[in-house]
Symmetry: C2
Subunit: 490 residues, 2 copies
């Protein structure tokens, strides 16, 4: 007779994550530190909405080799299409164009928040992730680019990374353009093929890149990628360019000069690098923190000059001893054409973006979690029914003494509650049963010591009788007893 009610299946959408606990705390720590740096350097916070009109957002997705990669879009009830932002740069261009007259320029803003990509989900590839950006809009000088590079290095330092454990790699797109001009290979499609090939140096090595610069390359799956069809001399020149790294920033510039030849574009790029080098040296950003590397080209089509990439060099290992390779955690560069999409007027801009999820995961692996796990959690056990008010008051006392604390407000016997406290990672459990209450005493249990001792135990009865990891103290001494337990488990 009774109609069975509809029961939806509780499931997370494909390609999306639930983030919890330490992961989120470290992300928050990173965003707080970065925001503090941006604030101190004179940037203002901005938060654009998740949606932009589809035509205003445009499509500047980084990887032009996956044309199916897209945005999440829906039609509004007035027939206009709305898209979820896929980065913070395109919405910034809209914001600047919309408010151009009133904005105080250069406009310096930072923004941290979710972005969405309607990609095919895969292992470790999510359709929502967090980016944290800073940009200066309305500044054409290489000094503004140098400031972005220094800012990125400062953020890396602010989260606890030691100098030498990270580096910002710097290049200027125009230098490669100059090289291509000098070998007669500057037309747009060829240029794009060379940029894409250069971007794969890391993954494919010199031979793979050489193939992509020449006739093309067949990958492991048998797919053939057409090459840029440079001649042998051209390939050598581009490879020399990509390999012109090492030594001081000035050394790299000196090595690049002959490759650029007479190209004005190339010379402009080298002049920008020279100014960046001067600023960085002057403000104390050494070559261990920001170096010049011609192989940095950045996939994104819209960069027009200097490009930067932040890389983690610190060493860590997986549990099986294999080294973890962190790689790039952010990047940026100069993009002078994005606002012009709206207004027709070129507005010079430069910016930097951190991939928060990836960067935070690396910080976790390196143990640089900030204050994420700073305070010890203590659980007050609900030993007697109807005494919750007492237990909640004890939790308040613990908080006042500087602990994270909660009283157990669920249901379950002592065993279940102890298991709860263990699984929460609590250092101590506090127990006032009827015996303790009548005697004016409190039992305090060291959960970490208890767990270690329990691992060695052979005689259950002896364990129950001796309870070696707990002590019962008077009511005026119980918080001190908790503090001792917390101190010995630090």
């Amino acid at each position: 007779m009774s109609k069975k009610p509809f029961r939806p299946k509780a499931r997370r959408p494909r390609g999306f994550e639930d983030r919890t606990g330490t992961t989120l705390r470290v992300e928050r720590h990173l965003i707080e530190r970065a925001s503090k740096v941006y604030d101190e350097w004179g940037f203002e916070p901005l938060m654009t909405p998740a949606f932009e009109y589809a035509d205003a957002l445009g499509k500047f997705l980084p990887d032009e080799e996956r044309p199916n990669e897209g945005v999440f879009a829906l039609e509004d009830d007035d027939g206009q299409w709305l898209s979820l932002r896929y980065d913070h740069t395109a919405p910034l261009a809209r914001f600047v164009a919309e408010n151009f007259q009133e904005l105080n320029k250069p406009y310096r803003r930072y923004q941290a928040g979710d972005v969405w990509r309607n990609e095919k989900p895969g292992p470790g590839r999510f359709r929502q992730f967090v980016q944290c950006d800073a940009d200066t809009v309305g500044a054409a000088s290489a000094a503004a680019d140098a400031e972005m590079i220094a800012l990125a290095a400062e953020v890396m330092r602010s989260v606890g990374l030691k100098d030498g454990d990270y580096v910002v790699r710097v290049n200027d797109r125009r230098v490669l353009d100059g090289v291509l001009e000098s070998i007669g290979a500057a037309e747009p499609e060829r240029r794009m093929r060379v940029l894409r090939a250069a971007d794969k140096l890391d993954r494919l090595g010199r031979d793979g890149v050489a193939a992509l610069l020449g006739e093309g390359r067949k990958d492991e799956s048998g797919d053939f990628t057409e090459g840029a069809r440079l001649d042998a001399a051209g390939i050598d020149t581009v490879l020399a360019f990509l390999g012109a790294t090492g030594g001081s920033r000035e050394d790299v510039i000196a090595r690049l000069e002959p490759l650029v030849g007479a190209s004005e574009t190339g010379k402009a790029g080298l002049a920008a690098l020279a100014e960046i080098a001067a600023v960085l040296s002057n403000i104390g950003v050494g070559e261990d923190r920001a170096l010049f590397d011609p192989s940095v080209v950045r996939g994104l089509g819209y960069y027009t000059g200097p490009v930067f990439e932040a890389e983690l060099l610190a060493q860590a290992t997986y549990e099986d001893g294999q080294p973890i390779r962190f790689g790039s955690v952010g990047g940026g560069g100069r993009y002078d054409d994005l606002v012009a999409r709206f207004t027709g007027q070129a507005v010079p801009a430069t910016g930097f973006s951190f991939g928060v999820s990836r960067f935070a995961a690396a910080l976790s692996a390196l143990g640089l979690t900030g204050e994420a796990e700073d305070k010890s959690l203590v659980v007050v056990v609900a030993a007697e029914k109807d005494r919750s008010a007492d237990y909640l008051a004890m939790a308040a006392d613990l908080r006042a003494a500087g602990f994270r604390a909660e009283a157990f407000v669920g249901s379950g016997n002592m065993g279940k509650q102890m298991k709860y406290a263990d699984r929460r990672g609590a250092v101590a459990a506090v127990i006032v049963g009827s015996d303790e209450r009548e005697q004016g005493r409190v039992t305090v249990k060291d959960l970490k010591l208890g767990a270690r001792l329990a691992a060695d135990i052979t005689d259950n009865r002896q364990w129950r009788e001796e309870q070696p990891a707990q002590e019962t103290v008077s009511r005026d001494a119980w918080i001190d007893a908790v503090a001792r337990i917390s101190a010995r488990n630090r």
Copy 2:
């Protein structure tokens, strides 16, 4: 000949905001403080994705009188419909149901982030806003509700509100249900009408509510709302119930007891309130911070027991002297049926949600902006071309001395740069032109004093010659000079 390029119009989507500067800083301050409180009380951070499957999210929107109010939804490429979350509670129910076996219960989490409502936009009504929630899932006891109430009061205190400037109003849905049973008016549709009428006491007053409890009410626009059709005695009882506020928490309970009569539901509600009263008193949450108010019913259909509402009582005025009424900045309650949608098994849960945008706006109006504007901004003027590296180094020196600082990296003459610094709210401008450079000196300008003096000036030439708001000091004294300016403008 040339094709005119497509130029999208730079415009923010209807019903969405760009948030900037102080607004965002105060929101961040509020979320940081609330998160710290939640952490200390033993809650764990959680961030579910923006999207949920439409069927899993369901539709539990607060205002059942606007059925057109909806969610943003789109079809995924596998044919499943995705909806953007409209609150943090429905995604929590999905998360708990999906991970029920592994979760350590009670599961205590907090989540702060954007939610979206596909509503008709209006003045001050946005389609994206920020909520900050804490919930305890898997705890049936009124102690867990009392903890939520205390937590809300603690968050209000943590952002700098004085006791007496805020209050959490508390009620239990079952008390009104008991009253309705006792007057024979408990069937669902009538109950819903009574709840909706009660929710309007604030707006319509006793007479308006009496009309909605009886035959119905025509509003100013001529629209007629059908009433709950209680008889005169029933209306009196409900109005007595709604007015049973004032005095101690125990006084309110005593006043409600006769109205509930023999109803078991009503008695259960009163028992919960009695336990909540005991816990609150025991953990030091006085009646100035949490009071019982039977008129609090909360619009949301899904609450099943205790309900709470956080209200700001602090006084502030608009610039024209009119008082600002802040009203409710958050609310919550017990909802025992949400997880059951998925599993069929009732899971007791209780929670609280702050409306971050509204709360932060109130804090701004009250001047409780935290450290949002703590540091003074100083702008180093780009007085000579090609000296950016020096100016950026001076900005770095200022930061090291504890200021927010930037060097001007845009283009423009001194007048434009001074205007830039003024509009940024900088306290001081620092100038090293060719004269200063050659003499080893620095000019430091007090921008706030300059603006005040400029308002009184009559003789332009005198002003230019005397420059009363600036001084030129030696290179080893310029940071001290900036510090003096900053100090006198605090």
